[in-house]
C-alpha cells in the first residue's frame, strides 16, 4: 500500500488537529487514535509530529492547554481550541478548497 507523504500533509496537520478540537477538548493519544480511525488507517501521525503541532498551535494562540489527572493518576495535557483557532481553521479549509481545485487540474486519473 502506498503511504501518505509527510511532506504533502505537513501543512495540514494543524488543520486536522483543530478539526477534532472544534468538537471539544482532547489530548494527544485520543487525537492520534481518531486520525487513524477517520483516515481508515491511511494516515498514522507520529508522536513527534503531533507534539510539534501542539506547541506550534499553542504558540500561535490557536489552542490553550491545561493539565488534568488521567485515570491512572498521571497528568495528562488537554488542548482546547480558541476563537483564533476557529478562525484559522476556517481559513485553512478555504485554502485547501482552493489548493485542491488547482492541483486537481493537473492530476491525471487512471
Amino acid at each position: 500500500m502506498q503511504e501518505i507523504s509527510s511532506d504533502v500533509i505537513r501543512g495540514y496537520n494543524d488543520t486536522i488537529i483543530l478539526y477534532f478540537l472544534k468538537k471539544g477538548p482532547s489530548y494527544g493519544y485520543d487525537i492520534s487514535k481518531n486520525i487513524k480511525a477517520i483516515s481508515e488507517g491511511k494516515y498514522l501521525i507520529k508522536e513527534t509530529t503531533l507534539y510539534s503541532a501542539f506547541t506550534r498551535l499553542e504558540k500561535n494562540g490557536y489552542v490553550t492547554s491545561y493539565v488534568r489527572e488521567a485515570e491512572n493518576g498521571k497528568k495528562r495535557t488537554y488542548y482546547e481550541i480558541t476563537e483564533e483557532g476557529m478562525k484559522y481553521y476556517k481559513e485553512k479549509c478555504d485554502e485547501w478548497q482552493l489548493t485542491k481545485d488547482v492541483i486537481e487540474r493537473f492530476i491525471e486519473g487512471e
Partner: protein, 355 residues
C-alpha cells in the same frame, strides 16, 4: 514499559535539561504509554506493542523547534562526539557477539578439559582393562592439554576481536536516532532468545548433578560411577556455562551502544570497589606476582604503562593456565579448579579497568 522509557531517555540524553525538553519528554511518554496500553488491551503481545510504539514515534528533529533549540545546535553537540553510524553499530554488534562466543567456547573447552582424565580414572578404578587404562590416561592427558591450549587460544583471540572498538569506551561517541530505533527494536526481539539461552544454561548447570545421582542409585559399576557420571557432569556444566556466557552477548553490545549518547565523560579509572575485588583475586590466585602487583598498585594508583602490570597482563592467561594445572595435578582438585575459568575473565576485566 521500561523499554519505552529507556528509548526516550536515550533519544533525549544529549539534549539540554530545560523546561521545554522536560515537558516534551513527559508529553511524548504519555502519548506512547496511552498507545502501548491500548495495544495491550487489544491483546497484542508486549514485544509487538513496544515495537509498534517505537516505530511510530517519529523523529526528534521534528520537535527541535518546540524544544527551543535549533536543529544545528543539536547537530553541533553531536559533532563534538565521534559519530557511530548504523553500519558501524551493526559491525560492532557482530564483532562483540563473535568475541563473546569465542570466549564462551574457550571457557567451555577449558572447563571440559579434564573429562579425558576422568574417564581414564574411571577405567582405572574399574580395573578390568589393565594396559588399556594406561593408554587411556595418556590419551586423557593429551586431550586435557589440547583442550586447554585451544581454549586459552580462543580466550586470548576473543579480546583481540573487539580491540578496534575500544574507542566506544575511551571516547565520547554518539549514535543517531535511526540507529537507536533499530537497535532498540533488535533488543526487544532478542529478549526471548536471551532468556531461553540463559534458562537452558542454568538448567543444565543445576541438572548436572542428576546423572551422578541416577547412576549411583541404579548401578554399582565403578566405571559408570567414577568415569561416566563425573564426565557427564563436566559436559553439562561446560555446555551450561557456554550458554550462560553467550546468552548475554547481544544484550551487552546493545547496551554499550545505547548508553553512548548518555555518556558525559570518560569513565573514571579507579574506585575502592575495584581495589576490593582485585584483592579477592589475590586470595584466589595465591600468586606472588599478583600480590606484589597489588602492593605496587596501592602506591601508584591508575598509572598506565606500569611495566610489572604490563608483564602480568601480557601473560595473564598463561598464569591462569598454570594455576589451573597446578591445582589439578598437584592437588587433584579438577572438580573445583574449573571454576577458575569463570573467575579469571572477570578478574581480567577488573584488572584491565583498574590499570
Amino acid at each position: 514499559m521500561d523499554t519505552i522509557r529507556n528509548y526516550l531517555d536515550t533519544m533525549f540524553s544529549s539534549l539540554p535539561d530545560s523546561e521545554e525538553v522536560r515537558r516534551a519528554k513527559q508529553e511524548l511518554l504519555m502519548m506512547m504509554e496511552d498507545k502501548y496500553n491500548e495495544l495491550i488491551s487489544e491483546g497484542k503481545p508486549e514485544n509487538e506493542a513496544i515495537g509498534i510504539v517505537i516505530s511510530e514515534f517519529g523523529n526528534l528533529n521534528e520537535i527541535a523547534e518546540s524544544l527551543g533549540i535549533s536543529k544545528d545546535e543539536a547537530a553541533n553537540d553531536s559533532e563534538k562526539r565521534r559519530h557511530v553510524s548504523y553500519d558501524e553499530a551493526i559491525d560492532y554488534i557482530s564483532d562483540a557477539v563473535t568475541s563473546r562466543f569465542m570466549l564462551a567456547l574457550g571457557i567451555m573447552l577449558c572447563t571440559a578439559s579434564p573429562i579425558g582424565l576422568i574417564m581414564a580414572g574411571g577405567l582405572d578404578s574399574a580395573s578390568v582393562l589393565g594396559i588399556v587404562s594406561k593408554a587411556a590416561s595418556g590419551a586423557g592427558l593429551l586431550l586435557l592439554f589440547a583442550a586447554v591450549a585451544c581454549g586459552v587460544g580462543l580466550i586470548i583471540l576473543s579480546t583481540s576481536k573487539v580491540k578496534k572498538w575500544k574507542f566506544l569506551t575511551n571516547e565520547l561517541c554518539s549514535i543517531d536516532a535511526y540507529t537507536v530505533k533499530n537497535i532498540t527494536e533488535d533488543q526487544i526481539e532478542n529478549q526471548f532468545n536471551k532468556k531461553v539461552m540463559l534458562a537452558a544454561g542454568i538448567a543444565l548447570c543445576i541438572l548436572s548433578v542428576a546423572p551422578a545421582a541416577i547412576i549411583d542409585s541404579i548401578s554399582s559399576n565403578n566405571f559408570l560411577s567414577e568415569g561416566v557420571a563425573p564426565t557427564l557432569l563436566f559436559i553439562m556444566v561446560s555446555v551450561g556455562v557456554f550458554l550462560i556466557i553467550s546468552s548475554g552477548a547481544k544484550e551487552s553490545a546493545f547496551r554499550t551502544l545505547l548508553s553512548l549518547n548518555g555518556k558525559t565523560g570518560i569513565e573514571s579509572e579507579d574506585s575502592e570497589g575495584n581495589v576490593r575485588e582485585v584483592r579477592i583475586n589475590v586470595e584466589i590466585d595465591n600468586d606472588d606476582k599478583e600480590v606484589k602487583a597489588k602492593k605496587y598498585k596501592k602506591h601508584k594508583k591508575a598509572e598506565t604503562g606500569n611495566p610489572l602490570m604490563d608483564a602480568i597482563m601480557g601473560s595473564y592467561w598463561q598464569i591462569v593456565t598454570l594455576i589451573f594445572f597446578v591445582g589439578g595435578f598437584v592437588f587433584g582438585e579438577w572438580g573445583r579448579m574449573w571454576l577458575i575459568w569463570l573467575i579469571a575473565p572477570l578478574v581480567h576485566n577488573i584488572l584491565k579497568k583498574a590499570y
